[in-house]
Amino acid sequence: MDLIAASPLWVLARATGVVLLVLLTLVLSLGVATSAGLRLARVPRFAVQLLHRDAALLALALLVVHVGTVVADGYVDVGPLAALVPFTSGYAPVWVGLGALALDLLLALVVTSLLRARLGQRAWRAVHLLAYATWPLAVVHGLGAGTDGTSPWLLGLDAACAALLLAALGVRTATRAARRAEADATAPRRPLTPAGAPR
């Protein structure tokens, strides 16, 4: 990690990238917790939802800084358009393209969420499932596009983030299975037998 040699903008781009990895993991994990209707210890559900929303908005703001610094730095050839349109970058078109794709998806997720009441639950949900594509895109982008991609500390962080996410998904699966078992327990015993009729 040769922080001194690089330009301050590039350092900022790398730093925001790492923070974004953690933040997006947090957003997705909180989203999984929300969709399972989980309460985290004594934190009320609405607080989990608000945290999910606010972390997502913060991620979007950081993403602007992340992209802005890369573009402004000029150290690598990534134009403003390449940051938004996938796979058009001069520098590492595939790695940067994955990041651009993740950015587009995140934008779609945020915009549809702000308009959820107007869109209706079904359309919103269909778009929101894209969150599960956004996270791996961002992670793979971080592995290939950056200075730190394959350094042990970042790989360790990637693994820790993946572990957190898997844990959240695991808890949700267990919650849903318990709910399904309860539904099965109250399912009608067929055939229905009318009451009060001659036996």
Binding site: A183, T186, P188, R190, P194, A195, G196, A197
Partner: protein, 405 residues
């Protein structure tokens, strides 16, 4: 369900349940052709006749027609060409009811006359007959085919599986769209059901038959009921006007009033009344209102001597729980919970604590569903607890006073 053949009414000719069922020519010869006056004229007659829905809710038919017309005007303004739908509702999911099947089988043309009149009243351009596969729907289908050349509004058949909630108004609308016959939420309680953005006028087959008689200027027939008891399969009866509960039971079986302890009035989603409270009441909303009941769809289920009211209630609530469309949480979770607690009480287990939990469980389901299915179960349980307090006390002590092993 086995349905006994309709019993002859004590007096007079049967207007709703003639035997044998007339073909179109006989029907016209007997009652004359159905007049099809202008929409407003139909509505005036309906209003003057005080016609009310016989599917169980007893809502004013004129008010329903007015609501559909108002909604249709708005739908047309938004998108021209959107005409309302009318539906003849022959779905009779209530196990203790058979009067709609009996009526549809005996008087299919009267029902279809009413359907054309209802279509006229609200300006509908298509109509459906909604019901379960079986003789009643077959009779309506045959009659509809016979008169198709004369009917101004085409009639389509919608056959749906037999289920308790399949006759609910929004379920009828949903089935007409090709969906499952299950209730769905309305924009507002009491608002007309909707089919593809246009309102639907859903009327019970008995309501339609009465409409066809009213427009012809014929006297209103007496109540149409279904009576059953533990040893008596459901029996559909047309009674004389002003008939009391006692008359209905006696018409089904002469000594039934004498051996009836309590009556579940209005069906599975009804109200338990003791024989003392019920027998001399007139079988009408006004007659039964003072004792907190309604005829509903004209269902009378008698609990006779030697029958445990609470055990019957438990079986009824279990049936209702099993009949939940499982769309609304408080219904699909609350009704099995409620049924379990009634079963505990009926079995003499649970004690006072179980009874307290039962009262709580009743409150948990009231008003909390897209349709009134949970409310019906709550009404049956609450009225049982109120009607037979001595039985409840005996069960709390661990024994049933009525049924001895």
């Amino acid at each position: 369900m086995t349905l006994l053949p309709p019993a002859p009414a004590p007096t007079g000719a049967l207007l709703l349940l003639p035997t044998p069922a007339p073909r179109l020519a006989d029907h016209v010869a007997r009652l004359g052709p159905v007049p099809l006056p202008a929409a407003d004229a139909v509505l005036d007659v309906v209003r003057a006749g005080g016609l009310r829905g016989r599917g169980g809710a007893w809502r004013s038919t004129a008010a329903k027609m007015d609501a559909v017309r108002a909604r249709a005007a708005r739908a047309r303004a938004a998108r021209p060409g959107r005409a309302p739908l009318v539906a003849a509702n022959a779905a009779e999911g209530e196990p203790a009811s058979g009067k709609d099947a009996a009526l549809a089988t005996a008087s299919p043309h009267l029902v279809l006359d009413g359907l054309q009149l209802a279509a006229r009243a609200v300006g509908a351009e298509h109509a459906v007959v909604h019901g379960h596969p079986g003789p009643a729907l077959d009779a309506l289908a045959a009659a509809a085919a016979e008169r198709a050349p004369h009917d101004p509004v085409p009639v389509r058949l919608v056959a749906v599986p037999r289920a308790y909630v399949a006759g609910q108004e929004t379920a009828v609308a949903r089935a007409a769209e090709g969906g499952p016959a299950l209730p769905r939420p309305r924009p507002r309680d009491g608002a007309p059901a909707e089919v593809a953005g246009a309102p639907a006028l859903v009327l019970n087959v008995e309501t339609l038959a009465r409409l066809a008689l009213t427009v012809r200027g014929l006297p209103a027939p007496g109540p149409l009921v279904t009576v059953s008891a533990p040893d008596l399969p459901p029996r559909a009866l047309e009674l004389r006007p002003g008939a009391r509960v006692r008359d209905a039971l006696a018409a089904a079986d002469a000594d039934l009033p004498g051996r009836t302890r309590a009556v579940l009035v209005g069906g599975y989603a009804g109200t338990w009344l003791t024989a003392d409270a019920a027998l001399d009441r007139e079988l009408s909303p006004e007659g039964l209102a003072p004792v907190g009941a309604s005829p509903g769809a004209g269902v009378l289920l008698a609990a006779t001597t030697g029958t445990c009211v609470l055990a019957t209630t438990a079986a009824v609530v279990r049936y209702l729980a099993d009949s939940s469309a499982r769309q609304c949480g408080p219904c699909w979770r609350g009704l099995p919970h409620l049924a379990g607690l009634v079963e505990e009480l009926a079995a003499g287990r649970g004690g006072p604590e179980g009874l307290a939990r039962l009262r709580e469980a009743v409150g948990l389901v009231v008003g909390r569903g897209a349709c009134a299915h949970p409310d019906g179960a709550a009404s049956t349980v609450a009225s049982a607890l109120a009607a037979v307090p001595d039985d409840v006390a005996a069960h709390l002590a661990g024994r049933c006073a009525e049924v001895r092993p």
